[in-house]
Assembly symmetry: D2
Homo-oligomer: 421 residues x 4
């Protein structure tokens, strides 16, 4: 073999090692995404560092990451120790140096992704192996340890069950702030938020919990105004940003909230923002100390699986791939908006005017759908179009002690039935 070829092959080996070394030293998203093969090479190397994969290991304890089934071992790349220790879900595990390193790297890359997406003032984040709802509960439980006598959570109405459940599971009392109708849009009633806060007394309020990503015709909450109120009254501010990372508008709201007021944590789903299977969330915030406290609130160890998914996905995308996805989403939304407006007009309906909602669209279902406009949703699903929801008036819902009318519309008496996506 000519020496040119040999040089080239060893050069190629070095390039892969360099990718890994750079990741380890910089702990940042690679600029270009890695190939599947490089990612798997690295996962195999990380697994090598966990004690269950030591060539000569003899495990005699109860927690030795034994994996009896070969399919299971494969799908986890022989990473069996999970993440965290009893005291802290992001602690390093002595017996699992590889898994611990993976978690650190994933957290660093997730932090960078939050910044890339627009909240540059984020100082720390936590990748949790539980989804958004449970993550909100954990953040509330962490706050509770700081404010043991505060029992109320002020919550601008958002007709999606998980967030409300998250409050109830934490054994807290939700204080619902009804929204206002502005044109077609459903928006936060800021004066009511402040008034209610004063009524209850700021020291009795655990936090205000608004939402920065939601279905049209509701708009994201007025985060900046709420942040200012939180600062003024020294009340914590936790933002449910479930699927807001994908849009620069929601991230800008949070960024401005941090700059001009108070934000303690903002919480986002990994599946909705990074296209991994359901199961993880990222909690970000401008205050390292508070993020660490959430981490130490979690009791015991946890599944590494959602972290591994995010880790692989971020390495596979790289910074450029991730930015390309964000840009593509923007373009697709505009296209979708145009096309949906055409369809609406063709059927004598109209696209609702929800210019403050950068993620979701809604179209009126004026009068053509008889008694049960929800039938349209079922028809769409049967034709393999999933993810639309028809919101019809007068739906009632009881959650815990609370009862809602026009549930789904985020407001009572929304003037028209609609389809939202």
């Amino acid at each position: 073999v000519s020496s040119a070829y040999i040089r080239q092959a060893s050069e190629a080996r070095k390039q892969k090692s360099n990718l890994i070394k750079t990741l380890l030293s910089q702990r940042r998203l690679p600029e270009e995404g890695w190939s599947d093969s490089t990612i798997e090479l690295f996962l195999h190397e990380l697994a090598t560092m966990d004690s269950n994969n030591f060539v000569e290991n003899v495990g005699v304890g109860e927690r030795e990451a034994r994996i009896v089934n070969n399919l299971v071992a494969r799908r986890h790349y022989n990473l069996g120790h999970g993440i965290g220790r009893s005291g802290d879900v992001s602690a390093i595990q002595p017996k699992a140096a590889g898994s611990s390193l993976l978690l650190k790297l994933c957290t660093s890359m997730a932090l960078q992704a939050l910044k890339l997406a627009g909240v540059h003032s984020t100082k720390a984040c936590l990748v949790l192996p539980v989804a958004t709802g449970m993550s909100v509960t954990l953040v509330l439980l962490a706050l509770k340890r700081q404010r043991p006598d505060a029992k109320y959570v002020i919550w601008p109405r958002m007709d999606q069950k998980s967030c409300l459940k998250a409050i109830l599971t934490a054994d807290l009392i939700p204080v619902v702030i009804e929204n206002l109708l502005e044109g077609d849009e459903v928006r936060t009633d800021i004066p009511s938020v402040e008034e209610k806060l004063n009524d209850i007394g700021p020291s009795n309020v655990l936090c205000i919990l608004p939402t920065s990503s939601c279905f049209a015709p509701r708009a994201p909450d007025r985060i900046v105004e709420i942040a200012k109120i939180c600062k003024k009254y020294d009340v914590p501010h936790v933002i449910n940003n479930a699927y807001g990372v994908q849009t620069s508008k929601s991230m800008h709201l949070i960024s401005e909230g941090i700059r001009l007021g108070r934000v303690d944590a903002y919480i986002q789903s990994t599946d909705k923002n990074f296209m991994v299977p359901v199961g993880g969330a990222i909690v970000g915030g401008p205050n390292k100390q508070f993020i660490r406290e959430i981490s130490t609130t979690y009791p015991g160890r946890a599944s590494a699986s959602p972290v591994v998914d995010l880790f692989i996905t971020l390495l596979g995308l790289g910074a450029s791939g991730y930015k390309a996805l964000l840009a593509e989403r923007k373009v697709l939304l505009n296209y979708f908006k145009e096309q949906l407006a055409i369809v609406a007009e063709a059927h004598g309906e109209r696209l609702l005017d929800t210019k403050n909602n950068p993620i979701s669209l809604a179209m009126s279902l004026g009068g053509n759908y008889g008694d049960d406009p929800t039938f349209l949703g079922s028809m769409l699903y049967t034709r393999c179009c999933s993810g639309c929801r028809v919101v019809a008036p007068k739906a009632k819902k009881v959650i815990g002690d609370l009862s809602f009318t026009d549930y789904g519309a985020h407001i009572n008496d929304y003037p028209v039935p609609y389809l939202t996506t």
Copy 2:
């Protein structure tokens, strides 16, 4: 091809279909474990039933189980929807019939496994995608909704941090019952439990939370006596059975507790009992209604990954494989006991007499280890023997507001340093 061969091939196809049909109709562990290939065939079939895998699906919502990375999609067999709905972590997902079915089947098989392992009176169980500590927190939070004014958890001291953290995370107050020394063994002080219960007042006690699997020289708690107290005073009883499914003795304690007293739930890790990666737990109990309430306490969706691991593992073992594992463990423990006694004697030490602990062994470290017997643990680890712990006297530990001396020994002033495994 001769017709005999054709008959045989289609017979073989039918055998696999029959395995699947039997599983679907009986929802029980197969008697013989399935091959990897049959398991994967079935997982691919289940995935087919989730909307993200429909051939012609167009997903327009925010939660469509999009998976951008191919490695991630593969390791989850294209199952992306997770489990549960906002109201109930074991609810059926309309868009994910396959994932929902998988969860149902896994739950049924897990229930059967708990019965096989000795607690035949279990009526329902829940496979949670969070590990033991967080599962204990969830069970406590579920109880709290039933007993909103009860703030205390009576807890026989068990020097492992997760369980105590689980109580604190749920914003409850742990009441530590110090243990008694009986020969070499550390055992529950039943009179103190009852006395403390009366002191606090039963209606102020959320539950008693004993431990049925632990490291020697502590013995599993006196579950039956505690169950009787719980029945007598009408106080809930939650058992931390973290790694107790693997031993008939712990399971027998729980079974007798149910028969003769009150047990609300017993909680076990999937990784320690079923050899999957860390990340799941099973909550079992004699009362279907309470298990369901725990399920509805969980806010939002959750990762399916720990469920998939358990599902694959149970199918791969089958009832006979699982029973064989249980039997093998018993034989290995006896062998280990004999050999460790020989080693102990050779070094002028002795195996501690802990006949009530069916899982763990301890060996004295009398006087040969100078100032720092913990050095032995580090030496063993360096020689690739993981999972041993050396417990030396006078270790102090503060957890929350509680401070312990001789932490690790489950009792103050244990007479001798020891190595436990």
Copy 3:
């Protein structure tokens, strides 16, 4: 779950079953490519039909497709029997109904792909698990059984070693026909072919073996004229079409050859035309009987692996994906041509005018490269550009008893050094 959802899931299952049923009944490329998951589902189902995967199989023979290593079993989807029987490499294997079916389906789809690519008159094909060179040898050995006294193969010079080796391995005597220079192009000397054929005597000639895909500045051979000669003298015609399936021009030559003259078989690589790993070839022809005879020439069984690769790839592409690849290649070639012309001009060189070569381009290396123009190839490789070849004058090469000058240029005294890709 609403009945709409249940209907939809079972509809989805049915869609996948229908894909498989359609494939089994039509034995054609699916119009749309299948997803990875559908392909794997089908491979698992096929494996189920092979005896080594029967649930209760007891294999006592020497050839039972035992696979000891789990990684190996996985990468072959538990298909272990290979293909063929001792008498015929495409025969059905009684013990391996699944593997046999896979081979049949792959062969049918490959036949359709050859037609789609332009040779509609192909009546049968054979997917061989050996690459082009060995496949040429096998075709020659099959011809030899029909023409036991014919020892000569007339072969228009093509400076790529495999084809010449294929003749020598079959213990035949190559008769080299030197090419002619026409402008920049190197082309077949048809009069010499016919003259040589008469010299040797047609009955002593096993076949004429031209090449329909090659590196510029050589053009594909004048297949139609050769086909006419073969018809006229009743001499077999075997075409080395190694990487010609990808271009309609080469396929058109073969098609016209069949229409206007005689073609017995044309041979193409699976890796170069269908982007699978090296290892397979497809032999196509207008005469079913002859293709079958090649199949029965192969002694014993063979690896299924190249067949499985092609099978997966064709299912994954579908007819539309395959056509899109062909169309994309055409566009890319034109773009490449334009750009390379610009580069050439910028360096005082020129793109050679090789309009009859639809696959490859060549650029002169006039005078700027000193004594050793091949140094440029090495430099390009070092810069990660692989697949270029520099052809410098006066290279000598001896293969078997034959010696060539200007090896690589397909002709003696090509006027200028060049780079070909």
Copy 4:
């Protein structure tokens, strides 16, 4: 993390690197088999060295190992270049340093395995990606280039079609030597072999081609005597050892043949001896030069897949695992023999006395099976027992120009029908 843990993790990493370094420097089977994860780590590293996996590669040639389908790329660990070059199937490929290294290592380990199995005098071997039949053809074609005028192959009758086909495919004339009956055994007629050799004239004989592993009641051929004849008359000796590596008796025959006479090459299947899917063979011999000539006979490149399978399997077994398999087979055969004798007796039949056959057993089917004893084979297959063959008298078979009576029995007029496994 305590420094002990860090030391341990980096120690563990080093252990894996050392396994790989040792393999690269010693090129021998590891003593202990590697875990799946170590094997995959190494395969990913090898792939890194092939040009198609270079991070910045731009491939412009026709043979760039492009793999369009992701499932295909995965199952080949991104190794796409196959093995060999046009001139030599075991040559190093400049663009595929990783694949080339894999082939070298696999060849070295295979050589060692042949020695371990008993033929210590083997000096070189070739791992071919074609099965036994085609490998025999290639060896014969290689011999033909050395002895262009020798057309005959002396072949003691062996009623398995592939070997005879291998002779015919190479365009050679088989000279069948009928066997002799000795007790129950069918054995080589050595005087006839020598007589026939003299009749034809040694210079007209390409080689003698006996068989060292076969179905009872035929015994392996008298290899040592044939080797002596070959030496005496200076005629090549090629041994069909298809499934003989697994038994020390067959390997001893070959070893003694080399020591006392002449052996040019002995050929064995990878699937039957190393439990990989059908598709490869190993050609071993005492003469490096001849083995190299076979290698240069192969025209063009070839699939790497059978080589990769053997490579993974040998690494996974290690020397100790391989020796354990050999030992286990011996034990199982004896057990099988005892049990089959009992079954035979119970049915008024008997185990045929075939003490020279170390692999296969046969049992008489005296008179209980009416007109068609083959029905028994079909019944066994239907009951999922595959691999038995019933040999009934008077079966006729025509292969090429040869016709056989009592085909399957290796001799005319075998006295009794029988079942062989």
